[in-house]
């Protein structure tokens, strides 16, 4: 086993409204990305601030910013107010704001190409633009003659892009370090795993990659990037994390793998500053474990005792543990596991992909990655007898076929025995209770063979 940890585990606590005066951050951009399409951006820069009240504009903040989360911290600076202007500059807005004002119009005569410039007053801009030129009233381009309209200036409040402005009051003049921090959407991360499964050796090689996506509309240049795994409560009802899909038994082993445990979160730090460009998917390796003990399991589940007109395929799962003993020993952030097996020529080939939730270290995982083409089960409800007013007896028969060249064991699960006092009257193989409502059998099936499993189960309603 080889476990390579590529990430530094810096214990940096990222909380909204960071940058305390006692511990001023170094200049630069810090981005902390959460699982749930959310990131905290902390931008520390030298700012030249004059004494007294002034307005600072931040044009290149993320266009997916949540403006209510903005804080600006700098020495000796008081925030008077913050504005996020999204009354965007458009030709139409420009014309509306020019109502009552003068503009220049330049007409090109289509006959001789001559240009005439006139001064006009915009009277209205509803459906069409009505102009007053001298003592005439005209509709702009009423005759279809190409006409340029030239405005003096752009009105104050119209902006080319959503702009954050902060009005501050400074008690002294001079350059100083200021930290702007805010939450933004459009940045997200998840884990992608490459699992190469060697069935014969019962081993799994697992590589983990952190996948960042940036669709925020802004590039984050040379950002010190941290990733938070875990659930974050969000006010709009969405919660930040994932369930524990694929995990059959959650572990309680102490976390020793990559990532620094921090309260209820795990923090992964990218080893060096990186640029997260707009419209980019970026992947950074965080886990490379070889030879994790793993084995293949055939499973077949039925909800209620019933017949099927056709056989159905058993599911194939790979079972492994992320405890230290199994050779992995790392918590796994939520993401997608892509499983590969080697074909006859030895080339790895994709065999299925499974979503997993955040998996604490020491858990048992069972990843169902596909259906076995050659292992099928066909159930038949042979008899459904009412024993008395409240109790029924189900006689089931399962024909389990194995067309592979090796013997297999099928883990067969029959649910639906949901009543009280369920008891097994007879069965051709011993079963065990999976839970109060489910019986399970481990059925060995010879190579190129078939086995019939029968059971009689009585249950109250």
């Amino acid at each position: 086993m080889r476990l390579k940890v590529l990430l530094a585990t810096a214990a940096f606590v990222a909380t909204a409204g960071a940058a305390s005066a006692a511990d001023p951050p170094a200049p630069g951009l810090e981005v902390t990305i959460y699982n749930a399409d959310l990131a905290l951006v902390q931008d520390a820069r030298q700012l030249d601030i004059t004494k007294g009240r002034q307005r600072l504009e931040f044009k290149d903040v993320s266009s997916a910013i949540r403006p209510e989360t903005v804080t600006l911290a700098a020495d000796g600076v008081d925030i008077v107010e913050q504005n996020f202007d999204f009354d965007l500059l458009t030709p139409s807005k420009l014309m509306e704001k020019a109502v009552g004002q003068q503009v220049q119009i330049v007409r090109t005569n289509p006959g001789n190409g001559q240009q005439v410039t006139e001064t006009a007053t915009v009277l209205a801009a509803n459906e069409g633009v009505v102009l007053k030129i001298g003592d005439r009233i005209e509709v702009l381009r009423d005759d279809g003659v190409p006409t340029r309209v030239i405005f003096d200036k752009v009105p104050e409040n119209l902006r080319a892009q959503p702009t954050l402005s902060v009005t501050v009051d400074s008690d002294h003049a001079g350059a100083r370090l200021a930290t702007l921090s805010y939450l933004t959407t459009g940045l997200a991360w998840k884990a992608d795993y490459v699992a190469l499964f060697n069935e014969q050796a019962a081993k799994l090689d697992l590589q983990g990659w952190i996948t960042l996506t940036n669709t925020s509309g802004t590039s984050f240049v040379d950002a010190d990037t941290k990733l938070v795994a875990g659930q974050v409560q969000l006010q709009d009802g969405e919660s930040g994390g994932n369930g524990v899909e694929g995990v059959t038994h959650a572990g309680s082993e102490a976390h020793t793998g990559p990532g620094q445990a921090l309260g209820d979160f795990y923090i992964y730090s990218l080893p060096e500053r990186t640029t997260i460009a707009q419209n980019q998917t970026k992947q950074v390796s965080f886990l490379d474990a070889q030879g994790v003990t793993a084995h293949k399991v055939y499973q077949w589940n039925a909800e209620a005792p019933a017949s099927a007109s056709e056989p159905s395929h058993a599911e194939v799962a790979v079972d492994f543990s992320n405890s230290t003993g199994g050779g992995l020993g790392a918590g796994l952030p939520a993401g997608t596991v892509r499983i590969y097996e080697r074909d006859a020529s030895g080339a790895p080939k994709f065999v299925g992909e499974v979503p997993i939730g955040a998996v604490p270290q020491g858990s048992e995982l069972s990843l169902k990655f596909g259906d076995a083409f050659d292992v099928t089960v066909q159930p038949t409800l042979v008899q459904d007898t009412k024993v008395d007013k409240t109790r029924s007896r189900y006689s089931m028969s399962y024909l389990i076929r194995n067309a592979t060249a090796a013997p297999v064991t099928v883990e067969l699960r029959q649910g639906g025995y949901w009543g009280r006092d369920t008891k097994v009257i007879s069965e051709s193989l011993p079963s065990r209770a999976i839970d109060a409502y489910t019986r399970g059998w481990s059925v060995p099936v010879p190579a190129d063979g078939q086995v019939t499993l029968t059971s009689q189960i009585e249950t109250g309603s």
Binding site: T90, G113, E127, G128, V129, W209, T281, Q283, G352, V354
Partner: protein, 569 residues
């Protein structure tokens, strides 16, 4: 398998397809990491802070290496859900179903130290997070998939705030003037500021447009996959790049040709490969995987180019209502004729513009991949963009089967006076002894049979879908209904007593065939307390159904009587 709706429409393709997918013509990716991707990337913080801030940024300089194309590529194609060739052919352009694993071999010359290696010519429909790269001597620092594409909208968007030229052409004199301007806003409603003032472009001012002096950084012609790697020693390295790509699908289709006597058939299986992506795979070792894989809805980046949406102020005039009159074509000029039928077909021909049928000489080898069935095409083949290709993978002659005439019945006490035709059902055992004995991937089976009534001409007699059938399993296929083998159902009695209802039904089965036939009445035990009380011939339990099986003599009839008890409703 059925995916809820994982495959987003409108991704990929678009204006990007069909130009230079072999990668030869792709310009090298700009070394954006050395500079910021925006022309003015830094916030306009206060005054005079930018230069200082820039100097504080640390970006390691590294070499840019472009791998223009793969030396060799192999593809393995998977199915989302079993389909027929017809479904593949009729799938729309935006159908992203199907999955391929692409394995590329690439040779790169790397200098020592840190390099960014860009892989040109990867499939447009790549699932970026699925990429794996082997063969690098050192560690991978990071892997990027960039899809900030150069299009008119992004060109304008990234140039906002920068200097452009506004070009105007006098339509009469032909005089062209260019004027420097600052681009204030775009792409939705372009505004520029010139020496004379602020102007909107595209607001009826006649022929004018923007001329850009430089390309904004960070915009590329095509999506690009790249990796940043630390290389301990310079040299030539062979890399294996694997990734998953959508919009490549396959199906199995069978043609079953029955013998004139209907006792045996010849079964031919065809693999149909359908490549709806814009990527061509030339001379690629190709394999398909039969079996159901678990899938996760893929994270496909939205690489469709942004649309430019011109915006202006209200353009209404006093003559708006008259436009219909003004735009009427002058008399004497005929309207262009509507496209002819074949042209229409070509225009509508969904996604696949070419179909290649390859027969006898190409062979397919069947092996296993884990618990799936792997069909490897023996010779490398070219799977071109927007192409459907068919390859024979199976040919079994003189396959034996039983023909059954089947009715599905229930115990509802209804007379059926009109004779009901039987379902013609072919019953197979997937065993060598009867001429089969090999795994059959799910697909559509089309039946043909020479018909004496048609002078011995072979006619199409029906088609039905087949599930994935492993070795040694029985399976059935229906070809159609037999109008000369019919059943009439009569209610003999219907008695309800002590909470139980007993229905006695009599079925008269009639055959006009010149040989005896086997008939089956099948009933699914349904309803509380279902019980067969009496029957004229004993039933068996088969595939969850109670089945009464009788022989109908040539040009004769047979009778089956059943009495079924259920709890009275």
């Amino acid at each position: 398998m059925m995916l809820p709706s994982p495959l987003r429409g409108g991704v990929g393709g678009g204006g990007l397809c069909g130009t230079s997918h072999d990668g030869a013509a792709r310009p090298p990716r700009p070394a954006y990491s050395l500079r910021a991707p925006h022309p003015q990337p830094l916030p306009s913080w206060g005054r005079g802070a930018i230069a200082l801030a820039l100097s504080l940024l640390t970006t390691p300089a590294f070499a840019d290496v472009v791998s223009p194309k793969a030396d060799a590529v192999a593809i393995t194609i998977y199915r989302d859900t079993p389909a027929s060739a017809r479904q593949l052919r009729e799938a729309g352009d935006d159908d992203r179903s199907g999955l391929a694993m692409v394995a590329e071999t690439r040779t790169v010359d790397l200098p020592a130290g840190r390099s960014r290696i860009s892989f040109a010519g990867v499939a447009d429909d790549i699932i970026p997070a699925s990429a794996t790269l082997e063969g690098l001597p050192g560690g991978q620092v990071e892997r990027d998939f960039d899809y900030d594409l150069l299009d008119p909208a992004s060109l304008i968007e990234k140039s906002v705030g920068g200097q452009v030229m506004v070009r105007r052409t006098n339509a009469k004199t032909g005089e062209v003037t260019e004027e420097p301007a600052t681009l204030l806003e775009g792409p939705a409603g372009v505004l520029v500021k010139t020496a004379t003032g602020v102007e909107a472009l595209g607001c009826g001012a006649g022929p004018q447009g923007l001329v850009f002096t430089h390309l904004p950084e960070g915009l590329a012609a095509q999506p690009a996959l790249s990796v940043v790697a630390d290389v301990p020693s310079a040299g030539r390295y062979t890399l294996t790049l694997n990734y998953l790509s959508v919009a490549i699908d396959w199906s199995a289709d069978y043609v079953a040709r029955l013998s004139p006597d209907g006792k045996t058939l010849d079964l031919t299986g065809w693999l149909t490969l359908s490549n709806r992506s814009g990527m061509s795979f030339a001379d690629a070792p190709t394999a398909v995987v039969a079996g159901k894989l678990a899938r996760v809805a893929p994270d496909l980046p939205d690489i469709s180019p942004a649309e430019t949406t011109p915006e202006c102020w209200p353009m209404g005039t006093t003559t708006d209502g008259l436009t219909a009159l003004q735009t009427r074509p002058p008399l004497g000029i005929p309207e262009p004729p509507p496209p002819s039928a074949p042209m229409m077909d070509m225009m509508n021909a969904a996604s696949v513009s070419e179909m290649v049928v390859t027969a006898e000489h190409r062979r397919v080898t069947a092996t296993t991949l884990g618990d799936y069935r792997l069909y490897t095409i023996d010779e490398p083949t070219t799977v071109a963009a927007r192409q459907t290709k068919q390859i024979r993978f199976l040919h079994q002659t003189a396959v034996k089967f039983d023909t059954l005439y089947v009715w599905h019945v229930n115990s509802i006490a209804n007379d059926q006076d009109a004779p009901v035709p039987a379902d013609v059902t072919l019953s197979f055992e997937n065993k060598e002894a009867v001429g089969l004995g090999l795994p059959l991937p799910a697909g559509m089976v089309s039946f043909r049979q020479p018909q004496a009534a048609a002078g011995g001409r072979e006619l199409f007699i029906g088609e039905q879908g087949l599930r994935d059938v492993p070795l040694n399993e029985p399976f059935e296929l229906q070809t159609g209904e037999a109008s000369d083998v019919t059943a009439v159902q009569r209610v003999v009695s219907d008695v309800t007593r002590a909470g139980h209802e007993r229905v006695t039904l009599e079925f008269t089965l009639t055959s006009a065939k010149s040989a005896p036939v086997i008939a089956e009445l099948r009933q699914t035990p349904e309803g509380e307390g279902f019980k067969v009380v009496s029957e004229s011939t004993s039933h068996v339990l088969k595939n969850g159904d109670d089945v009464w099986r009788v022989s109908i003599p040539a040009n004769g009839s047979a009778t089956v009587t059943t009495t079924i008890e259920t709890a009275a409703s």
